[in-house]
């Protein structure tokens, strides 16, 4: 660099630009993604802080106000035993979101772990990829239904009715949805480990564990982040499908899917019982998908420069 350009550089780069600053700027330019963030943020706030404002117990039976239409006391109306639908949707949302995030965390951790192992250690590659193919060939929904039916009672007696079913569903969704992440991470690691900085790290005697955690994992963070958003959306849909088939959460510990399942026989009487939880699921998944779309664009260096 000559002196002339060195003198001009501080003017051109008046502000320090970091990688994540660039990502954030690109992300903000994506209108769909920003709308997604707004909607998802609103849903999270409404579900977790809403019960502080609308302080009706979701399990309180008000038998004199059964099947009530929306009113000030019950903004979404009440169900056939007089429970407040707004409070139930909020309580259900807490469980649904918790399931989505916890199942996503398991599936991402498992996928990243298996992907890094398969990509980095040549010995394990064949076996782990066969395992991934095998999991991809499993009929997931029927298997999930079967597993939940068979192990529900055992886990319920071990961890209590609520903890047991939560643990079961989260773990089961987690261990049946890691395959895509593992494949993507393996592909990235295969390319990364041939790069010079890994060679340099090896040449100064860095241990393999440290190469993986220090040099490889940060570099595969962006595909992992993108599959994390897809993972949340998928986990929420899977959980609500299971609950919708009557094989998920019990009625006294509802999720959005369970509320739909319970409300579907009262479609003509109180359509709100179906519309509100259904709308909540759809909006959550839609906003998360848009966030994922924006993240994918923002984290892709080829698009980011433009």
């Amino acid at each position: 660099m000559t002196d002339a350009t060195a003198g001009a550089a501080p003017v051109a780069q008046s502000r320090h630009r970091s990688l994540w600053g660039d990502v954030w700027r690109q992300f903000r330019a994506h209108r769909g993604a920003m709308a997604g963030v707004a909607v998802f943020g609103f849903i999270v706030i409404a579900v977790f802080l809403g019960p502080l404002i609308h302080t009706v117990d979701p399990q309180y039976l008000d038998l004199r106000a059964r099947n009530a239409p929306p009113s000030w006391a019950h903004p979404f109306g009440t169900d056939n035993v007089g429970r407040d639908i707004a409070a139930q949707v909020m309580a259900g949302g807490q469980t649904s979101l918790a399931v989505g995030i916890a199942a996503m965390a398991i599936s991402i951790a498992l996928g990243a772990f298996i992907g890094v192992l398969a990509g980095y250690f040549k010995l394990l590659d064949g076996a782990l990829m066969r395992l991934t193919d095998l999991f991809l060939a499993l009929p997931i929904l029927p298997l999930l239904l079967v597993i939940i039916l068979l192990f529900r009672d055992t886990l319920r007696s071990a961890f209590g009715p609520e903890g047991g079913i939560f643990l079961l569903i989260v773990v089961v969704i987690g261990i049946t949805s890691w395959m895509q992440t593992a494949r993507i991470v393996r592909g990235e690691v295969l390319a990364l480990k041939e790069r010079e900085f890994v060679l340099a790290a090896k040449s100064i005697g860095t241990r393999e564990r440290r190469i993986i955690t220090r040099h490889l994992l940060p570099n595969v963070l962006s595909p992992i982040l993108v599959s994390a958003t897809i993972g949340i959306a998928n986990a929420i849909i899977t959980e609500s499908s299971l609950s919708f088939l009557g094989l998920g959460f019990p009625p006294d510990f509802p999720t959005w899917g369970r509320l739909l399942y319970d409300g579907k026989d009262f479609l003509t009487l109180t359509p709100g019982r179906v519309i509100w939880p259904g709308l909540a699921i759809s909006l959550t998944v839609l906003s998360v998908n848009f966030i994922g779309d924006g993240l994918r664009d923002a984290l892709d260096p080829r698009i980011r420069g433009r």
């Binding site: 499993l138 068979l150 055992t154 479609l267 998944v285």
Partner: protein, 337 residues
């Protein structure tokens, strides 16, 4: 190509065996008792005999091998006999996979339910492709136009809104408010006149559309991306330079090339829609194989559930294979050998 196909076929055999073992072991090692649903008045020794007659006292590995033999050897032999009328070996005493709940052969139950599923699911997939291909082509040809923007948004809606919600919304709108379409699929309907044919069409509209919308949104995205890849290629410019009509260029040259990856995506999607149909069949009370699976699960009918789940797995492996082979056949640039 042939060698590749044979190799893939051979590789899929251990995969399927592993899957069948997983399914069998999972269901078998789980705590469930086939006699649990029987009346409590049955004395324990009779109960024990019932368990023995169901083959529950054999060791695990024997039961697995027996089930495999029944499913992979006996049932296909039975089917061949039924189709051709031949008698192969000792067909009277050949063991079949028997449902615990109904005491009839599982395969017969599945054959009974298959037509409804194939009608609804198959039709929905055809409709999905018919909707998705034109939308994908137009969105790609007029990229970033209002049509493309709306198409993108609608397809995002399509794969974000779960089918159980669209299904219920359709019921609220078209059955409850407008009263146009029946909300329950009537399987006993016999199509023998114009009126009954119209009734059949009307009851099929909603389940078909629900599944079709969900699938069309994904296929149209693939179609659009594939068209965009091809539209900027040199051969398109050449075709235009030769003075061909824009119609011919797009519909003949670009579309045919763009359909190659889309066809494989469509083939890959076939087994997943059988899985997705479980929910749709539940909403509209179509008594297809998805509904059969749910009934089997609820009554803890292990042989039925094992067989159905394994059939789903076979479908997945089979269509993966078909997709790979189709890709090789349609695209001459791809050589597997």
């Amino acid at each position: 190509m042939f060698r590749y196909a044979m190799r893939r076929l051979l590789v899929s055999i251990p995969t399927l065996l592993a899957i069948s073992f997983i399914i069998f072991a999972l269901l078998d090692l789980a705590p469930s008792d086939p006699t649990a649903n029987l009346p409590l008045t049955i004395p324990p020794e009779v109960r024990e005999k019932i368990r023995a007659s169901l083959g529950m006292n054999e060791p695990f590995i024997i039961r697995y091998l027996l089930w495999l033999q029944q499913f992979l050897v006996n049932e296909p032999l039975n089917m061949i006999e039924q189709w051709t009328g031949w008698t192969i070996g000792d067909s009277e005493n050949r063991l079949r996979v028997i449902s615990w709940a109904t005491r009839s052969p599982v395969v017969d139950l599945i054959v009974e339910r298959m037509p409804q599923t194939l009608w609804v699911v198959g039709m929905s997939y055809v409709v999905a492709v018919l909707i998705a291909v034109p939308i994908g082509v137009i969105s790609a040809y007029r990229q970033y136009s209002w049509f493309d923007q709306i198409g993108t948004f609608v397809s995002m809606l399509g794969f974000s809104i779960p089918t159980f919600f669209t299904g219920l919304l359709f019921i609220v709108i078209f059955s409850v408010w407008l009263g146009w379409l029946p909300s329950i699929y009537d399987t006993t309907l016999v199509v023998d006149s114009w009126d009954s044919f119209m009734a059949q069409v009307r009851q099929m509209i909603m389940p078909t559309m629900v599944l079709a919308l969900a699938n069309a949104s994904q296929i149209s995205r693939f179609m659009r991306a594939s068209m965009l890849d091809n539209l900027n290629q040199d051969y398109v410019r050449t075709a235009r330079a030769k003075g061909m009509k824009e119609r011919t260029v797009v519909l003949l040259h670009v579309l045919r090339n763009s359909l190659i990856p889309v066809v494989t995506v469509i083939a890959l999607g076939v087994p997943t829609i059988f899985g997705g149909a479980i929910i749709t069949e539940q909403i509209f009370r179509v008594n297809g194989i998805g509904a059969l699976l749910i009934v089997g699960i609820e009554s803890a009918d292990i042989p039925l559930v094992q067989t159905l789940t394994f059939i789903f797995a076979i479908l997945i492996v089979l269509f993966n294979l078909i997709a790979d082979l189709l890709y090789g056949i349609l695209d001459p640039r791809i050589r597997y050998d």
